[in-house]
């Protein structure tokens, strides 16, 4: 399916309405959704022998593996996506018990996602649910880090 060059992603993400998202960066293969959720832009993260992934962590795309990965950065599981003061949140999307995507909450309550090797967008959390990323199943939180 060809993407409209004007940036209409609804063909790929049916719940994503044009009025509800905006593209926030150029395309880049240097980092992916996991890296972006972690706050990095110079490395491609995934449990794999050729991606960035801690050697001692489970090399599998399960929820447990990603919970452990983000725990390295101070994140712990929490109940929901509700915005909390002085708290940063990450949401994990899974499909068939396999993690497919991660999004990070912004200060304005919306979410930011790096779409694979493409660009990153600001969006509503559930708008990226569907065939490509599955559903949001897990939320993680940590105190806002000093920048």
């Amino acid at each position: 399916m060809v993407i409209d060059k004007t940036g209409d992603l609804s063909g790929r993400f049916p719940h994503l309405k044009r009025s509800n998202y905006r593209i926030c960066s150029p395309e880049s293969k240097q980092y992916n959704c996991i890296s972006w959720a972690a706050g990095w832009t110079d490395v491609f993260c995934w449990p794999n022998n050729l991606s960035f992934w801690p050697l001692t962590y489970p090399c599998e795309d399960t929820e447990d593996a990603f919970v452990k990965f983000f725990a390295m950065l101070g994140y712990k599981p929490c109940e929901n996506e509700n915005q909390e003061k002085e708290v940063e949140k990450i949401a994990l999307y899974t499909q068939g018990n396999r993690v497919k995507h991660a999004a990070r909450q912004l200060k304005n309550g919306k979410w930011t996602s790096k779409l694979g090797s493409s660009f990153d967008i600001e969006h509503e959390l559930k708008d990226l649910e569907g065939d490509k990323y599955g559903k949001v199943v897990l939320y993680l939180r940590r105190p806002i880090q000093a920048s």
Partner: protein, 156 residues
């Protein structure tokens, strides 16, 4: 000299006194030229066949490049929004490129020269090699350069 038996040592001794041209003339009638005549292929035909073979190989290479290019573009477009390496690797177009085998290596490396991209798994599967060191895992630019260096060292 006709009909002489050259296996006879006496004859060999006698003929050693002859000059080369005399030996040639003397042996010419003994030499059976029928094999040469039967198997002789004019050089024009040989040249034509060589050119034809070269053209067939060039056409095959061109077809391979075209197929690779189509698969690469399909793979790139259909996986651009994916982060899951598993999903990226098992995409049918990527698997077909891997199935091309060693012939795809130079094509992939040419792509890497243009742009750092996620070709590492295909190169690893096809070649069995892995020039990516632990410290650059996940660094797409550095990993691409490692493979390009591997290509230079291996004649690509």
């Amino acid at each position: 000299m006709n009909g002489m038996n050259y296996s006879n040592p006496a004859v060999a001794t006698a003929t050693s006194a002859l000059t080369p041209s005399e030996i040639y003339l003397d042996t010419a009638e003994e030499f059976d030229t029928s094999d040469v005549v039967d198997n002789y292929i004019p050089w024009e035909i040989l040249l034509g066949e060589a050119v034809s073979l070269l053209q067939r190989e060039t056409a095959a290479e061109k077809e391979l490049r075209k197929k690779f290019s189509e698969l690469a573009e399909t793979w790139k477009e259909e996986t651009k929004f994916l982060s899951s390496i598993s999903d990226i690797i098992i995409h049918p177009a990527h698997m077909q490129i891997i199935a091309m085998g060693p012939k795809a290596v130079s094509l992939i490396l040419n792509r890497l020269k243009e742009e750092a991209d996620l070709w590492f798994w295909a190169l690893n599967f096809i070649t069995g090699e892995n020039p990516v060191t632990q410290d650059i895992r996940g660094n797409v630019k550095a990993m691409s350069e490692a493979w390009l260096e591997w290509g230079r060292k291996n004649g690509y």
